[in-house]
Amino acid sequence: MSAWRRLWRRTDLDRQLDAELQDHLDRLTADHLAAGMPEAEARRRARLEFGGVEQVKEASRDARRLTLLDDLARDTRYAVRSLARSPGFTCVAVLSLSLGIGANTALFRVFDGMMIEQLPAAAPADLVAFRWLGPNRGIVGILTYGTVTTSEAVAVRSEPGVHVSGATFSLPVFRALQESSLGFSEIFAAAYGSAVNLSVGGRAELGSSQFVSGNYYQGLGVDASVGRLLTPADDVPGATAVVTLSASYFSRRFGRDETIIGRTVAVNGVAATIVGVEPPGLHSIGRVGRPSPDVTLPIAMEAAVRPDMAASTMPAGWWLMVMGRLAPGSTIDGAQASLDPVFRAATGEAGGERPRLVLRPGEHGVYDQPVGTTIPLLAVVFGIVLLLVCINVANLLLSRTETRQAEICTRMAIGASRRRVFRQLLTESVVLAAAGGAAGMVVAYAVTRLLVLFPYLTQAGAPNWRMAAFTGGASLLTGLAFGWVPAVRATLAAAQTFGSVAGRSSRARFGLGGALVVAQVGLSLVLLVGAGLFLRTIANLGSVDTGFRSENVVVFTIDPRFVGLDDHRVTDLYERVRQSLEAQRRVGSASFGTQALLSGTGNWSRLEPEGSSLSLDVATLSVHPTYFDTLEVPVLLGRGLSAADVREAPAVAVINETAARALFPGRHPLGQRFGRRYDELKVEVVGVVPDVAYRSVRERSPAMVFYPHAQEYTTRAQTFIVRTSSDPDEAIPDIREAVLRVNPTLPLQDLTTQRRAERDLLQEEVLFATISTIFGVLALVTAAIGLFGLLSYAVVTRTKEVGIRMALGAGQGTILRAILFEGLALTVGGIVAGLAGALAATRLVESLLFGVSPTDPGTIGAAALVLLGASCAAGYLPAARASRVDPVVALRHGR
């Protein structure tokens, strides 16, 4: 500051000021001299009259320095004082603003974490994601595209005219790409492993895993936080088995105990040395926001860790996500052109249509973010909320400026320009919005916790400058949006002469306030219709007949691969667990199968019935003979599965009614046989069960085939279903104990009740219903308050009119009805306007609804009725007050 001031002193302006003031002093002295004063006295008097020269200089300099910023600072101080004088108004305004801004900040935070955040790697802009694009079937050398799962196909955006786009590669193809590395400094790969059993010092626990190429960390350009990370030397056949831990697993399981480095962990029974810990906050290369798995293993260890399904030993297994780091000077397009021939050569010899390589920027991960409809839908809901908040605060400001009219008039009368007052009022709005934005941070925190419950929206970015900028920008825009109209009105009104205050028409006020109420009602209708549709969807989904009884059922999964059991002992294991469960006091019956019903997943295979040319995709399960009994599913025709259906016995199956109709149209299903693609066996149908809900209650029961467990491949994980005799939650400890008694190292996965598992499938619908109901009710209340305020004000300003009408013979009832009718007219206007909005907005949710159309007249009618009821309630008090007006008093004093 002092350096700046010294500079300032030397300026020309300053010398001019000195000269100007000196000139003034000289003239004053000269006048005194002319009046006959002696010179010394004249100088003394002049100095005395002039006062402090330095103060005058300082004040003059300040006057020049007054800029827009100074005005802004002054306006802000004034705004804060003025808002502090009406704490009630300020509280209500800040609260509603914090709701609107906070909700949107939370959504932006989730959006930012998914769409904007980059992988926490060195120079993420140089990362390139590898994809391929190709026809659906038939590449020479590869049977199919391998393990491309449904969720992956959803995650990868498909392109027009092409059937399949994938983001996973087989090990030979990856090695070919890596060997050539044209245009790249590194090409590296990673694959999610399933859950693995991690046993350290005899204590076993399940953890998530990934398999990576040896240059994975090198490619990402990250360093270990403790010890070392994997290197290419760890990823060669015969290398010592090593693992690295994620930073969060290191602290969660080992409390950041660094002595763990160098110790041995058994991964599914395979001993490996812990060599180091990843840097904190590392994400999986699959997708930004997905945390790095608990343990990372070299691809060379994959066959040992999961011998039954080792993808690395299957040339046709496409399982590796591949990423590259561009070499300095090369471009994505150039790299794609030079690597595509390498890729094509690696995919097969000749013939057929082969996939081609597609390279994309990889800073957000290999997969696209599955935004789906969730984020756009939430953006619509929260946008409406913010709009409602703006309208609400604008309404509050309007009535506030009414009462401040005198103050504004005075300010303008003593010289403040219209623009100045306008800016002042707008500053007040922005200060209000800024306070709302600050309070909105708290709201945002709460709403974020709600949002991450949505499937797919599981990642909220860490707070960063983008979020701060978003909140700041949103607050500023919000402040301008709701402050603009009231400020224009206030300054316009004040610019008229004082004399016209009394004659001001109340019609204009009703016009603008009325329009705001219409908008509020309309937006409320949109939210209420949304809430109604989701509530009905949930009710409909809850009342679907699933074909089995979900009450008092506990489900969990065990996977023998975690304890390294071989085929023979596994079959034995399942039966021993089942019997141990049935021996429990609280357990009625226990069974198991390859999956529970309504688990959200499905398994399909192609069947060909004998004696016809049909070929159908059918849902298949292999189940223990007690499966139907435990789920209380009756056998309609023939028999159920039995203990006699062993591996050596003839192959049999039970099918559901839909399968019977689809596979054997017009024929009696019992005794019919069908063939399968993957073996030569002919399977005989021995029974028919009714249709049961399979993957989700939203879908009609598909054609289903149940194989006896003993005749199917059995080393897979099995899901147990346990029918308890009382509250299933109380039986869970007994169930856990019964399993551990059979094998103490066997982890129970996904232990829950059937009811809870089914409810979890409806998570998204429930969350949308919750959010739209909360905000719908809030919108309803604000609309009602807005209407109440408007009518109250109208009644006050029109007391005289009411008095005249009563003097002319209008009864109390007539007045009451007239005022109520005005409120209802506004509400009906809002409903009509909102209807158009609702019809447009609910199309967005069509795919999430069940058993109800987005234009369901019942729901829309109910929402409209609720609004009409609220408007009657809001209008009643002002109407009643108007009807009690004493005409004599009104005519003498009213306006």
Binding site: E20, L21, H24, D26, R64, I414
Partner: protein, 115 residues
Amino acid sequence: VAPPRSDLPQGTLDLLILQVVALGAVHGYGIAQRLQQISRDVLQVQQGSLYPALHRLEHRGYLTASWKASDTGRDAKFYRLTPKGRAQLKEETASWARLTEAIQLVLQAAGSGTR
């Protein structure tokens, strides 16, 4: 015998300065003298507020200043009104008239009310 002097209501100094300068180019001392003369010695302007006001008005573009030779033989800083300043003067005069009229009305009404 000097008449009692009145303090200027806040915000009116700018209006008075603009009015004086509107009569012709004048330096700071001249403005102070002119105000005192025209108001028959009722209004006296302190230099502590005159010069900041002049500089503020110049900064806002209502006044423009130039150094010219003056009667003392030295250069003095003369202020003139800009077109913007003239518009501002008109607006402020009108708003002042409104205010005084309103105050007058209130005073008269209140006066007649006290019977």
